[in-house]
Amino acid sequence: MALSGIQIYKLLPQTNCKECGFPTCLAFAMKLAAKQVELSACPYVTEENKAQLAESSAPPIRLITLTGGAGKGAGGEVKAGNEVVMYRHEKTFYNKPGLFIRVQSAESVAAAEAYKVNYVGMDLTIDGFALEADSPTAMAETVQAVRAVTKRPLILISQNPEVLQAGVSQLPGEKPLLCGADASNWENMAALAKTCGCPLTVRAESIDGLADLTEKIKAKGVEDLVLDPMTAHLGKSLALYTQLRRLALKNTRSVGYPILSFACNATDELAAASQAIAKYAGFIVLSEFRPELLYALLVLRENIYTDPQKPIQVQPGIYEINAPKPESPVLVTTNFSITYFAVANEVEGAGLPAWLVVCDAEGMSVLTAWAAGKFDAERIAKAIRGFDVASKVSKKRVVLPGHVAVLSGELEAELPDWEIRVGPREAVDLPAFMKQALN
């Protein structure tokens, strides 16, 4: 439970020595409660009180990091946890759930490892692999085979601690996820996790079962835990995951850990993985490498984990669609990502060449930007001149979005040697307009 300023004050020395840079301990306590300062600024807190303060300020869902063979840095780590809200609009979702592919064969690992797809200028990839084996030798061999192809973080699956041990010993310096502990093997699993310092999953069908295991394992000194609620059933997992997130955000420490989803066991993997992305999973295991499924899930994950406070904006500039020629039309729109993609997608999908001028409208859609004065004749003219559109085209003709038809007069005044045309209001009508009206 997060402590109030007064509660924190009671744990401070109350000597007002000012060494923390604040005039009183109370002032420092208030800043601590607001998370604006670090506790370490006060040199005089007792060890005991320090522990209590640290516990109270820990995030409601523990941050769990898996490390692969490349060590820290790009692609080498997958993080889950540290989430603070139920709904993304309340703040944002932070750590995108890691997508892991279950290892079926060496070829599938190579294909998944090489997989890369571009979305809105970003290269998206999978995060790691999950592998299962039934004997220590088999596990060691599988790990070796996988490590010959990829350095991505791993999830090792077995109910037998010796099998997991055999896998871990092949991965020096790494932090794979051990999967995992259940009611029957938890003591040995906890001992293994403690020795190797790897995060460990706990498996149970109920919330009480999960909490019971995490408490017992934590008492053995293992804190990096992940919850496996043992279901890929859509209805059951939605209820369980929601309850776990709620409890965690209400500071129920025993379930304040990320969730592992075995979407691979679902009746419909796409449905289950989509739900897991939107509703609270921290790691997701997929059954096999299938590019079209991965593409959809990677894009969905980007979308859901976009910060709602900061909509994705497109860089203002002149964009070439379908290799335009000097006589191709010039279209104008704003740098709000949805608006840009709606327009670009329609024109591109219709196979029509065009120059698309994206104006800096502070990331707003055409109508909103116009209403806010961020998309007016002056700005449009500035973009046309600034991006030197005239040098690229033979026909000085620009198409305005239909929603801002009112700007055409002013724009004519701003750009006297250009012909101003009013296009359709919606992007979807652009191809027809371009074919019929722009010849």
């Binding site: 709904y87 797809v117 209820a239 419909d268 449905a271 989509s274 739900q275 959809a296």
Partner: protein
Amino acid sequence: MPIEIPKEKWTGKVRVVTLGATAAEGGTRTRVVTVGGQACMPFLHFEHPTPHPPVLAIEIKSRPPTDWSPILMETWGEAIRNPATWAAAAEAAGAEMFVLWLTLEDTPEEATQAVRAVLGASGLPLAVFGPGQAEKDNELLVAVAEAAKGERLLLGICEDKNYRTIVATALANGHLVSARSPMDVNLAKQLNILITDMGLPADRIIMDPTTGALGYGIEYGYSVMERLRLSALQGDSMTQFPMLVTVGFEAWKTKEAKVGEGVPASWGDWQQRAIDWEIGTAMTLIEAGADILVLRHPESVKRVKAAITELMTA
């Protein structure tokens, strides 16, 4: 000590809305569709039972589409030649209702003919949407509403530009409206207020908050829907309407669904990707509270329906 599961104590509830009217109610439908009634966020049965699961509509057009993905054209084949055969095929594919989408080329006579054809071909409830240009929508929908008086059709697209005409004809002819606003909680609410102020009973309104497909703004639609539903549960009467989303329209206009050649190999199999795109969009919006999903591909209908069945059991 067992952990107590926290339950939200909502005060509000989504209104129950029924589409379609049987002979006893003054229409000719043999089946009706009822949506709404939720008193918690989607499928949290431990808080409240879900009285009415989301409903799947299949979109059909008054004349064969000219800009649809070849995958859809091939799947529906000859059926798309006229709305009656299309409706029959859609019903066989598992549709629980239809959305008949009219086109700019339709005359009011052709539009009413298409509506009569669909009503004659199937006993399922029907939504009729105009092409989306305010004046044309008015012209077509008024004719349709009069011709199908008493059927409890869902009329769309009813937006700020044309709501007066659409609501007036819905009122006069016993229909419902699909109130469409551009991805904004306040605009959605405002339109609902304007519509109810005209005297249309609140149980004859469905709201369409607009959404984007996967990769094309789904996160905006998703969050607007979550916020609308939360606001409804918190007791705001003007957001307590079931939500309709035009998933097929959005998903199938994306390049991912429409184009099979000259796209990156990492996009995978075209056919599968296109269907996954529709299903992924649908499933995500179901999690946000969608009540009526308008789909285009029979495979999506089958799989989304199975997923809904699984979501309804806990």
